[in-house]
């Protein structure tokens, strides 16, 4: 599978490594070169400097033939806009969008994005851990 990840955050970098280790073709984008320091030495995918909201950068990352696009920056709105570019302009088959704000998560899943709210998931897990 050919995967593009936007945002070399801790989550982005970790996901890139996991997918790479499973044999997928991975390209990770970030607007800051220093973010790529989060990648392990043995990461063999592509790290590309540029914004995942910029169509030219996305083309360079090979979005036209990508199977999946994942947004993992710290900014909800950046993630949402890039995910909608991938979905509606480039018709990427699977687009997964990280959204912290639960309201925005609900709204955009209604609008057809696959969304993940780490806020909701982590809160739920901690609650289950505590109350079992």
């Amino acid at each position: 599978m050919k995967v593009i990840i936007m945002g070399c955050s801790r989550v982005g970098a970790r996901l890139a490594e996991l997918l790479y280790r499973d044999g997928h073709q991975v390209t990770i984008l970030d607007v800051k070169a220093e973010s790529f320091r989060r990648l392990q030495q043995d990461f063999g995918g592509t790290a590309l400097l540029g914004s995942g909201m910029d169509e030219a950068v996305l083309r360079r990352a090979g979005i036209e033939t990508a199977d999946a696009f994942i947004t993992a920056t710290q900014g909800d709105n950046r993630n949402i806009m890039a995910a909608q570019v991938a979905r509606h302009i480039f018709n990427v088959p699977r687009v997964v969008c990280r959204i912290y704000d639960p309201l925005r998560r609900d709204l955009y899943s209604e609008l057809g994005l696959e969304t993940i709210s780490s806020t909701t998931i982590v809160a739920q897990m901690i609650k289950e851990e505590l109350t079992g």
Binding site: M53, D76, M81, Q84, I89, L103
Partner: protein, 220 residues
């Protein structure tokens, strides 16, 4: 008519001022408390500190009864998301977004933002208007898909000077709304109105007809 503006910088501040003077009900949502204080000091309590993309903020701002939602922040992604939340979660009928990077315009249109305003393009149009051999200036381009309002100045050398409006080869459907004479007198043209040198013509046209409209008016 209740209008919510997101972004209280110079643009949002001046828009609020102008809308309030026209007796609209206006609320400005701005993250920076300093800007909010400045707006409230001048215009009364019309601005709130907050994030225009936060559901709770919009709920408490009475977004459900708003008629128009205008997002004017300096980031395209914030304007896009604010307008989408306004439209889809709060069912606000009309959403207007400031666009900084014009390459994003097709995406905004596709995602249902009613109007996009690109300030750079507007400034460029104005500058072009001040250059010799005045081209067509777009006054309201993009507000509606099907027509635009343009401003064309008739050069002194144009063959059309001295013609009656009825004699102009105007494209079908074009409306000449206003003529401003060289001495700045405005008049609503009829079929018998004579075109004079340096008339400034304000017309409504379909975008495709713009070149033939210009040709009909300037003889070029």
């Amino acid at each position: 008519m209740y209008i919510i503006i997101v972004g209280g910088g110079r643009l949002g501040h001046n828009l609020a001022k102008s809308l309030i003077s026209q007796s609209y009900e206006v609320l400005v949502i701005e993250k920076d408390p300093g800007l909010v204080e400045r707006i409230n000091a001048e215009l009364g309590s019309v601005a709130l500190v907050g994030d225009g993309c936060e559901g709770k903020m919009l709920e408490s701002a009475g977004a459900r009864r708003a008629d128009i939602f205008i997002s004017l922040t300096g980031e395209d992604e914030d304007n896009l998301v604010a307008c989408q939340i306004a439209k889809h979660h709060f069912n606000i009928p009309r959403t207007i977004a400031r666009l900084l990077d014009e390459r994003n315009e097709p995406l905004f249109k596709k995602l249902g933002i009613d109007v996009t305003i690109n300030s750079t393009n507007i400034i460029l149009e104005y500058i072009k208007h001040e250059l010799p051999s005045p081209p067509v200036m777009h006054l309201l381009k993009g507000l509606e898909k099907d027509f635009e309002v343009v401003d064309i100045t008739v050069p002194s050398s144009a063959q059309t000077v001295g013609s009656r409006v009825a004699e102009l080869a105007l494209p079908e459907g074009v409306i000449l709304a206003l003529i401003i004479r060289r001495d700045r007198t405005p008049l609503v043209p009829g079929t018998e109105t004579l075109i004079e040198a340096e008339d400034q013509v304000i017309a409504v046209t379909r975008p495709d007809d713009e070149p033939s409209l210009r040709a009909a008016l300037t003889g070029k």
